[in-house]
C-alpha cells in the first residue's frame, strides 16, 4: 500500500508530466495540417514568459520578513551578489552557485 504521501507525489509527478507533454504536443495535434495558430495564442506565448519568471522571483521571496530580524538582509545581499555577478560575467552557473553559498553562510551563521 503506498502511503498518502507517495500517492500525492505520484499524482503530482503525473500532473507535471501530463501538462508539459500536452503543451509540447498540442501544436502538432491541432496545427498538424496547414492551419496556423490564432494570433492571440502567438501573442500570449510571446509575452507570458518574462511575466511568469518575474512572478516566480517574487514567489521565492514570499517568506522574507523585511520588518523582523534579519530584515531580509541575507536575501537582499545574496540577490545583489547574484545580479552584479551576472551583469559582470554573464555566467549563469557562477552567479547561482556563489550567491547560494553566500546565502547559506549568512542564514547559518548570522540570522538565527
Amino acid at each position: 500500500m503506498p502511503s498518502a504521501n507517495t500517492t500525492y507525489l505520484l499524482l503530482a509527478t503525473l500532473v507535471m508530466f501530463a501538462v508539459t507533454y500536452a503543451l509540447r504536443g498540442t501544436v502538432f495535434a491541432v496545427f498538424g495540417g496547414s492551419r496556423t495558430p490564432p494570433r492571440l495564442i502567438l501573442y500570449i506565448g510571446r509575452v507570458i514568459g518574462p511575466a511568469v519568471i518575474a512572478s516566480l522571483v517574487i514567489y521565492c521571496f514570499r517568506n522574507t520578513t523585511p520588518l523582523v530580524w534579519p530584515y531580509g538582509l541575507p536575501e537582499t545581499a545574496a540577490a545583489l551578489v547574484c545580479i552584479l555577478l551576472h551583469i559582470w560575467k554573464r555566467n549563469p552557473l557562477l552567479s547561482i552557485i556563489l550567491s547560494t553559498i553566500l546565502y547559506m553562510v549568512l542564514v547559518q551563521h548570522f540570522s538565527s
Binding site: 507535471m16 507570458i48 517574487i58 545574496a78 549563469p92 547561482i96 552557485i97
Partner: protein, 233 residues
Amino acid sequence: MLRFTKKVALASFKASIPVLLGYLTMGAAAGILLTSQTGLGAFWAFLTSATSVSGALQFMAVDMFANHTPLLTVALVTLSINIRYALYGLPLIERWKGIPILLKLYLILSLTDETFALETENKYPPGEDSLTYCFLISLFDHIYWVTGVVAGSLAGGLLNFNTKGIDFAMTALFIVILMDQLQEKQTRIPAGIGGICAVIGLLIYPANMLVPSLLLILAAILLFRRRLEVANA
C-alpha cells in the same frame, strides 16, 4: 527512417556538448535540492526528470513536493512555466510530418529549450539524415538531464553538512533567467506586469499566492494586448 552512422553520431554528440555541461550542473543542483529539502531519493529524481524534462519546473517541483501544493495549483504552475513549449513545435511541424508515430512522440517528449535550439539549427553533416541527427540530439540531451538530476540526488543524500539556505539556488536561477530575458527590450513591460501581479497575489492570498498571481498576469496581458503589441512592433 533513421540511418545511424558513426559520422552522424559524432556530429550530434559534438553539437550537444554545451548542453552536456549545462544539464549536468543544473540537473545536479536540482537533484541536490530535491534530496536535501524533501528527503526524496534517486527514484523520484529519475521519475520526475525523465518524464517532465523541464529545468525550471524541476526546481519548482522541489518546492511543491515540500509544501504538498494542491494538484490543481501544480497543474497551473506547470502550465505557466512551460506554456512556451506550446509554440516550439511550429517550425518543426512540416519537418516531422509523416515520421513514425513513436519517434514523433519521443521527439515531442524530449523537446527542451536547448534541444529545440539545436534541432531548428539542424546542422547535420552533408549526406547524413537530418532526422537521425535530431533524434540523437534529443536522446543525448535527455540522458544528460536525467543523469544530472539523479547524480545530484545521490550526492545530496551523502552530503553531511548543513544545507539550510540551499533553496536560494532556485531564487538565483529565476533571477538569472529573468536578467537574460530582460536583455530584449520587449520583455520589460511583461516582466513588470508579472512582478506587480505577483506582489498583489502575495498580498491578497499569501497562503497560495501563485494562483491569483498567474490569473492576474493572464488578465493583464489580455487587457493590455493592444499596447503591448504596439510596443513589440
